[in-house]
Symmetry: C2
Subunit: 327 residues, 2 copies
């Protein structure tokens, strides 16, 4: 099996690559070729016996999409995107990469046209929803994004469903919860604090909490995200049905729940490294975010997320910190 | 006020033009200029004292959109589209006109960029919904189109909301019910029979009914459609709010309701001109269509549709037949 990952150098892309290499296959099928694409060169995974190609390329450049699919990958993960904040700040770049790039990819697959019909797994986002919404968002709730990023993802979902219905490929769009705990450095994303307040204290560093502890949001770990992607790759198109965009399961919890889990696992000393510095801008932004989903369809399709924030903290300590932390 | 109508030569475009000319203004504002655009030359309306330009142009051709908005119309009706059947039969043409053409228009407005912010009224469709759905579709129901046309309209809605949110223009997308009774000749649209069984018998002609009388659907007259467009043009953006795509009110009724109304108004002789010739293809297509909407938001915003099919038949006889029919 030949797998193409677009967005392979990002956090989720790298973890997915490592997981696929460790598994050696997906479903019952061995992987013999990996094509890893991103705007920067993706790392070559260690320990893979098959063929690996890495390519630094911009999907929104004419000709790139055609090159990527010319090798007729059986499975395509399309994870590449300009993130929410940047797509909002740079209108043209967001539409060029997130909308045009996605459409170029879909059209390049379509234009092969000789029965080639790969599985395409597209990462969408809960940003396709926009406030006001109910406390728990059902599967049949409408998408009224309040960002250009959310708009671009919602359009990608629509295209993917139509192209799948037409038989050009066999797609599935999965709306990831907010990934937490994100490894790496604190970033300026408005959602960054959800991860920062766990990651930094476990590293012996202070972290800033800019919102009230009562703030509720929707989470899954990076480990769960990789599990979602692998599961999405193996579902049958018939099982998915014509509605190809799916809200995934996640964990609905408050910042207080996060902190309680951190305290149970790492103790009061670690929790004391969280500093409360309210930020009105972040408070306002986060106030418009979804707090929970009733992800019935995805659960029936076998997608599984964490059931407690303790699991999310444990996954972070195991996967990123070698099982230890700074007490 | 300067009004641009794109799709001005179509049935709704011509009726809208005539209504605007008859009214002389919209809201409290007099109309001093009309720009009428379509792929074929639109007729010049009689009795208009202001300036009229007609232009035969294809919105999907590079440069057309820029030309259309260079005159900075205050109000733009974007009615132009490849219809459902053709967009399904010709994938490239449907996406080129219905998606790219719409985006070119929106971007041409955006790129003027000096505070120019016209009202844009975009005709969407109940084809943004795809079966299965509840008997009555609420305002917050998700859009899962089952045609490329419906997909293109749903994408147009998303773009319009995002561009409006960004302040590039002040848009509203209205999801028209099936327009009935359509004037003119019978056409091959799967929905054609809903109109044919009223229009042809009133003209002394036979008409074919290809489905059961129990089939229920969602209707508004051409007269109501013109009313929707005029009302959409005058609503304040604040009243519409950030969710710029709206399902309009209509009349939910069955084919039997249609026939009963025709009998009450025109008698048994006229009804006897309806011939029952079941068509499995049309039966299957129509089975996937929406039957009713709870168009709460639109009703609150003041959109008004017919309350009975008798009203729809009367509107047809008055507006198209000079008040008479072939008994």
């Amino acid at each position: 099996m030949h797998i193409l990952i677009i967005g392979a150098a990002g956090m989720v892309g790298r973890k997915l690559t490592d997981a696929l290499v460790a598994d050696g296959g997906i479903g019952a099928k061995p992987i013999d070729r990996l094509s890893l694409v991103d705007v920067i060169e993706a790392p070559v995974p260690a320990g893979f016996s098959g063929k690996v190609e890495t390519l630094a390329a911009d999907l929104s450049e004419p000709g790139t999409a055609e090159r990527l699919v010319a090798g007729r990958p059986d499975l395509i993960f399309h994870l590449a995107a300009i993130v929410s904040g940047e797509a909002e700040a740079d209108f043209d770049k967001g539409y060029r990469i997130n909308l045009d790039g996605t459409r170029y990819l879909f059209d390049a697959i379509r234009l092969i046209g000789d029965g080639y019909c790969p599985r395409v797994v597209f990462t969408s986002s809960i940003a396709v929803f926009g406030a006001p919404f109910p406390a728990t968002i059902p599967d049949e709730y409408f998408t009224t994004p309040l960002t250009s990023y959310g708009t671009q993802k919602a359009i990608g979902e629509l295209l993917l469903s139509d192209y799948s219905r037409r038989g050009f490929f066999d797609g599935i769009a999965i709306r990831l919860p907010t990934i937490c705990v994100r490894p790496g450095k604190p970033n300026k994303a408005a959602s960054g604090f959800f991860s920062n307040i766990i990651r930094e204290p476990l590293n012996g560093q202070e972290a800033v909490l800019p919102v009230a502890e009562s703030v509720r949001h929707w989470f899954a770990s990076p480990r769960a995200a990789v599990g979602f992607l692998k599961h999405a790759a193996t579902l049958s198109g018939d099982a998915i049905g014509p509605r190809r965009a799916i809200s995934l399961p996640g964990l609905s919890c408050t910042v207080a729940d996060e902190i309680d889990a951190l305290r149970r696992i790492a103790g009061d000393n670690v929790v004391a490294r969280i500093k409360r510095v309210p930020d009105p801008t972040i408070i306002r932004i986060v106030d418009g975010w979804a707090t929970a989903f009733d992800a019935k369809r995805a659960s029936e399709l076998g997608f599984v997320a964490e059931k407690s924030f303790d699991e999310i903290v444990h996954a972070h300590i195991e996967d990123e910190l070698g099982g230890t932390f700074v007490a």
